[in-house]
């Protein structure tokens, strides 16, 4: 049975309420941290745990925390990034909706560790009903002495506020999020200075994802050392995966990172296999911006080793034959799906979400969308495929923030692995409008495995 650290109690009747959450052992970690640990000791514990940012970048959380500047007399802030917007990703929503006190508990401990007396949860505007759930949990926590002035007699004061965004993927990038929290357009800032030195209102700031901050609770309860024993290598602890697409059981699953991709897709405990008895064609394992993998590279790496659901194994082979863990947004495509059309919708997404600050991204995403639309609708030319390749190369690495890379990678990977499907569209403009390319030589992974 898989280890569950975050969602173990998510299905307990009434867990959204303080009383039930507390009865189930909630807020023990706050007690332990605030009464028996120093802020520095908490940072050390998080370092030992090996916890990596769960929003997509996978940067070690304890290290990020240790960078926060502490100039005399300047307030510091923790900001929780709940701007979950990467296509395929809906795990933070699940956590906030079903077990909100876990996030609040993680926020209190993390605020104490970082010295944040005013902590903000920046949540995407479309999740319009969730702020009510979070504010209810905050009010209950405060009424029970876990927030407010002099928490547990430690002299530590903390308030948590919820701020709604208003529809902008870019605000998931931490400096854009900070701009937005300051009441501005979500234009990412040039780094350095990093938020740890100059963040919100020019004060030292740490921005962490919802799942990352929730994971601080089991780290304190278990100790960092014990947490690090779960999982494998540098993929410690558990990870929430939101699975969608052509599978029998879409949803949010907590995995320890030792299971194989094949088990994740076919086990009844997780995705339950491909829907309608279809065969698997491809998968985007970590949110729309990570490279798509054809079935034959999904269950086995290029070296023929089993591919596992963890940071290292998913990226095995680099971008040539691997992908990334990313945000854990797991999108499965069956044999009836068109990679060209799917890539077109993603290109449209990134064009829509580009903030427009950097010309390679602002112009390049628009070009990619137009060209992909042409190919998809049977109006493409063979030279368009090379043009697409050229454009994505010119975006990648040439923008202030990673949105440019995020827009370039899916296009690059689609061409890298499915070039013949693009060519088939160009060569068969009429036929491609009435039927799909299908699997062709990307045999079902299970056949390859056998």
């Amino acid at each position: 049975m898989a280890v569950k650290l975050l969602l173990e109690k998510a299905h307990v009747e009434g867990i959204r309420t303080y009383d039930v959450y507390r009865r189930e052992g909630g807020y023990r970690a706050v007690e332990k941290a605030l009464k028996s640990m120093s802020p520095e000791a908490i940072v050390e514990e998080v370092k030992k745990s090996g916890l990596r940012g769960r929003g997509g970048a996978g940067f070690p959380t304890g290290m990020k925390w240790s960078f926060i500047a502490k100039p005399e007399g300047v307030p510091r802030h923790l900001v929780c990034n709940a701007d979950e917007s990467e296509p395929g990703t809906f795990k933070d929503r699940y956590l906030m909706e079903f077990i909100p006190h876990l996030l609040i508990e993680g926020l209190i401990i993390s605020s104490f560790a970082l010295g944040s007396n005013a902590t903000y949860i920046y949540i995407r505007g479309e999740y319009a009903w969730i702020p009510d759930i979070l504010e209810q949990a905050i009010a209950e926590a405060k009424a029970n002495g876990w927030l407010g002035k002099n928490i547990l007699g430690t002299g530590f004061d903390c308030e948590i506020y919820v701020q709604r965004g208003a529809g902008a993927y870019i605000c998931g990038e931490e400096t854009a999020l900070i701009e937005s929290l300051e009441g501005k357009r979500g234009n990412p800032r040039i780094k350095p200075p990093f938020p740890a030195v100059k963040g919100v209102w020019d004060r030292p700031t740490v921005v962490n994802n919802v799942e990352t901050l929730a994971a601080v609770v089991p780290i304190i309860n278990l100790t960092g050392e014990e947490y690090a024993k779960i999982g494998v290598g540098r993929s410690t602890g558990t990870k929430l995966i939101s699975a969608c697409g052509n599978i029998n059981k879409p949803g949010v699953y907590e995995i320890d990172m030792t299971i194989s991709v094949e088990e994740f897709i076919y086990s009844d405990e997780y995705c339950g296999g491909i829907a309608n008895g279809k065969r698997l064609k491809a998968c985007i394992p970590g949110g729309s911006s990570v490279p798509i993998l054809p079935a034959n590279l999904l269950f086995k790496t290029a070296k023929g080793e089993t591919r596992y659901m963890n940071y290292e194994s998913l990226s095995d082979g680099g971008f040539a034959t691997g992908s990334m863990m990313g945000s854990g947004g797991f999108i499965v495509l069956d044999e009836d799906q068109c990679v060209v059309k799917h890539t077109y919708t993603l290109a449209r997404f990134y064009r829509h979400e580009s903030c427009g600050q950097c010309s390679p991204c602002r112009e390049g995403t628009g070009w990619m969308e137009k060209i992909l639309k042409n190919i998809d609708t049977g109006k493409g030319k063979m030279s368009d495929i090379d043009l697409l390749w050229d454009i994505q190369r010119k975006i990648e690495g040439n923008t202030i923030c990673p949105l440019g890379d995020a827009a370039a990678w899916p296009v690059a990977a689609a061409i890298r692995h499915f070039r013949d499907e693009f060519e088939w569209h160009v060569l068969n403009p009429e036929e491609s409008q009435v039927r799909n390319f299908g699997l062709a030589h990307y045999a079902d992974a299970r056949e390859v495995v056998a």
């Binding site: 701020q163 937005s180 969608c244 919708t345």
Partner: protein, 165 residues
């Protein structure tokens, strides 16, 4: 004359108090949400009013209101259907749902029905990929959409509107 109710004005003060002194501009996004709730959309009068409430320049409000996709810069219908069309929803048939709504309401994305009841919009990923196809209607999501479900939602909206008129 654009003006918030006393209750909303108190809410504005409560929001401003969340930020350090002099950083009341941080309240801009939440206050624009309040304004849209109250007035349905953000006219330039409304945006100027919000600027005055936060002691910032009107241009600071315009540049934000035009950046974020959730702010309506023109009037919308009583109910807005914002149907997601990004990859994971497309796989699950969002194109069919969009054409069905277009046909049923006789409007294209971006348009409002003549009776002012419904606005249709296509949007990009709303974070409900496992429950696709889906749309946002006001504060909530409508998920696992089918043609029958769309029919039921439209009927329900019409009934609710008739009951409240």
């Amino acid at each position: 004359m654009t003006k918030f109710s006393d209750e909303k004005l108190a809410k504005v003060q409560e929001i401003i108090a969340r930020y350090p002194d002099g950083k009341q501009k941080s309240a801009l996004l939440p206050v624009l949400h309040l304004a849209q709730e109250e007035f349905g959309w953000l006219s330039s009068d409304t945006m100027d009013y919000v600027a005055s409430l936060l002691s910032i320049e009107p241009i600071e409000v315009y540049e934000v209101a035009t950046f974020y996709s959730m702010y309506n810069l023109q009037p919308v219908g009583r109910y807005t259907f914002e149907v997601c069309q990004t990859g994971p929803c497309m796989i699950k048939g969002s194109d069919d749902i969009i054409s069905y709504i277009e046909q049923k309401l006789n409007i294209k994305p971006g348009q409002t029905t003549e009776d002012g009841m419904f606005t249709l919009k296509t949007v990009e990923c709303l974070g409900a990929c496992g429950y696709a196809p889906m749309m946002q209607m006001g504060k909530f999501y409508k998920e696992h959409l089918t043609k029958e479900k769309v029919d039921a939602i439209i009927d329900e909206c019409r009934k609710t509107a008739a009951a409240n008129n």
